[in-house]
Symmetry: C2
Subunit: 446 residues, 2 copies
């Protein structure tokens, strides 16, 4: 049997490795259009922050290991252009422009996502860059060095924008952040979002939310990001306004699409074609809180979905219930984490949401070095269920989100969650963990 | 109605405060034998570490606040000696030796626990001390200062012994740790226990497990801890070999006792007398993994049980399912956490336990500053259930234990837990969180 995989990063290589482990006799072919496979894309901002590091440090496993140790037929520089479902082949061109046709018994589409680029003038100028693939990180790093960048503008204020902002400040580059929407972090409680904004501004970053962008212009050796009421001069622009799934191949093959133009898959990761799977950033998923389809392009679910596809291709029956929408990022000294639904999302999905926002401490009463931990917790008044949680703090915020994440998978009520036996010692939190204090407060609203 | 509470720390004052909040007209009398109420006992080692801090900094709420702002009749220096269940009164003596008799409608026994002291010669010598009540911390602090202590021996190697060891080293006091049992941390996987032992020894602490203690002797201005094959000289001895519940009053009143001579209570915290509750370190509880009675004297469950008693006394019906046995401590730069059952405990309770021990990293691939996180995870081969988890690491161990703790409350299988959507970002862990990697490995054993 021949298992063909389009795309050689998180989902694709996870699937390839596991399929060969499960069934060593299986022919596994991976077709990757770039020259890079199996790298930590999320690590790029931290690598860019350090001038003397190589972006290749982020490669988790090199191509020759997949080929020689694992027996995977990994072909880089191979771009698939057509999936012929009737003939069960994929067709495309390699790096030298030679055409290839490869038959498949089972096919995995793991084509990932691409940065969204606003359809405005000047976004194709030299020095205007995005960050998604390893080559993007390489390009940004090279550009900073070769052009001795001292000033950058980042368009967007999501987690990649904020991580890149920290990375550039670490290299002593002045940074302006600009975006059209006036809310800084729209899915977050505004008081908690201001804690993050203060942290960013404290690090000498200028924030310009609420400025419609008209385009980017070249002016001598500089670029200018032009807004209706503002012009921001710089040497480099990072565009970080979100991503879109690479679902063109699937769409061209007539597969059913899901939310945000993802490839629609079932819990077994199968598409509308019984021999074709999709996994990773290009595919949709189920949200365990809403039970509905969602698109949440993050690394863990890509790896996990890759494994599940491999299991299903090799004769096990694996179904993934879905994701809780758990994510975390760091910006300067602030940790930001979320799981489940925001108030607006909960209302949109027909819940009757109530929320509390509490401020607690990262260490016990009178313990030195303590800092504020802010928690927003959302519950459903109708059923008592926990729906979501958000955390901001300088320590102890990141890993705390995992307890409510497990609770969401189990569809726990806020009250049941409030009775959980969470850990306590003075260096790590108050006796009542901030997760429990917020749950105790939320119960009163329900 | 008169609600009388014996004991004014975590469980007692939590119950008193909540009872008055629930029902402001209720007469609430708290009888506390010492002069201290509502303090962070767990914070004492960290306070002792800092010479210029006052032990009173650990008082969370002062007696006058309870009396004047909350309307609680708080009587310090009141030692209860007899509970007369037939007459529904408690009798005892105040600090001046005057007898008192106080009637109750509902009574809460929240008498806590006391340090165990080996029945061996010399444990009553000056300079031999324990740490449980605030006065103990005060005494240790005063003794270090007035005797200019440069060398101490700690008997015991549990979490209080280790926290005190760190505290004394912070004050540049040389420390020997000694105990009879040869295993350093008996409930922990030996490889993981050695990581902790190395950390302690790296801080110039001498460890002597496996030395039977014969007694303590005075020699001029010094003390000597005498073992069969070893004599350890010092100026101060801290005895930290565990605690025993203060259940003598309950036993004298004929109430049913539970494991380790605790006061036996139901899920509503009621004792065998319908008008008497017990909560905190003196009472037993249910373990959510075994469903059996257990004694786990820790701060969170004491506070929570105090609240539940208050709710039940004031007409709500609250039942606590029990504890997962979650705990965490820090020793020097090492975080140690556990929840649920060890292998030995799981076998004892009739499970068919299997375990894995994995070593993972605290940050992502190629992320600077990463350190080892070791995880032991225990599951039940018969049912697939997750039974317990232990964690050791320099960062990110403490709060990670809460996700498996929630899973234990929900009686999740290891497989279901392995599918949870836990947070990932490079500064906080690998894509597959160590909790998930250990679960994935454990599944293969089951």
């Amino acid at each position: 049997m021949q298992f063909v995989i389009i795309g050689g990063d998180a989902a694709g290589m996870s699937a390839a490795s596991r399929a060969k482990r499960n069934l060593p006799g299986l022919d596994v072919i991976v077709l990757e259009q770039t020259s890079d496979v199996s790298y930590s894309a999320c690590g790029m901002p931290y690598n860019i922050a350090v001038p003397n590091s190589a972006i290749e440090d982020l490669v988790v496993r090199h191509a020759h290991v997949f080929r020689e140790k694992q027996g995977i037929d990994l072909r880089t520089g191979h771009r698939v252009e057509i999936i012929d479902r009737a003939g069960k082949t994929v067709m495309g061109k390699d790096a030298e422009g030679r055409e290839f046709i490869i038959p498949y018994d089972k096919l995995l589409i793991a084509t990932g996502a691409s940065p969204r680029i606003p359809d405005l003038p000047g976004f194709d100028l030299e020095g205007v860059m995005t960050l998604k693939r390893l080559k993007d990180g390489r390009k940004i790093k090279d550009f900073i060095r070769s052009h001795n960048v001292k000033k950058a503008v980042i368009i967007g204020m999501g987690y990649i924008a904020l991580e890149m902002c920290e990375a550039l400040r670490a290299r002593d580059i002045n940074v302006d952040l600009v975006k059209p929407r006036s809310e800084f972090i729209p899915w977050m409680n505004p008081d908690m979002a201001s804690m993050i904004r203060e942290e960013v501004e404290k690090n000498d970053v200028n924030m310009y939310p609420g400025h419609e962008i008209r385009g980017i212009e070249r002016r001598n050796n500089a670029l200018e990001v032009v807004c209706s009421d503002l012009r921001l001069e710089c040497r480099m622009v990072i565009v970080a306004v979100g991503v879109k799934p690479n679902s063109e191949l699937a769409e061209g093959a007539g597969l059913v699409l899901g939310p945000s133009n993802t490839v629609a898959v079932g819990k077994d990761l199968g598409t509308s074609d019984g021999d074709i799977y999709a996994a990773g950033d290009c595919a949709d998923t189920f949200h365990v809180v809403t039970g509905q389809k969602a698109w949440i392009p993050l690394a863990l679910r890509a790896n996990r979905a890759g494994w599940a596809v491999a299991d299903n291709v090799t004769g096990k029956n694996v179904e993934l219930e879905g994701v809780a929408g758990t994510s975390v990022f760091k910006v300067f000294d602030m940790q930001v984490a979320r799981t489940g639904l925001s108030m607006a999302e909960a209302a949109k999905y027909g819940f009757e949401p109530v929320e509390v926002v509490i401020k607690s401490r990262s260490r016990a009463h009178a313990h030195p070095g303590s800092s504020t931990i802010a928690v927003q917790m959302v519950g459903d008044k109708k059923t008592g269920r926990l729906l979501g949680c958000q955390l901001v703090g300088k320590e102890g915020a990141a890993h705390r989100i995992n307890a409510p994440a497990v609770a969401l998978h189990q569809k726990m009520t806020v009250e049941d969650f409030s009775y959980c036996d969470l850990a306590y010692a003075p260096p790590f939190g108050p006796t009542w963990d901030p997760m429990l204090t917020s749950a105790n407060q939320l119960i009163k609203q329900m």
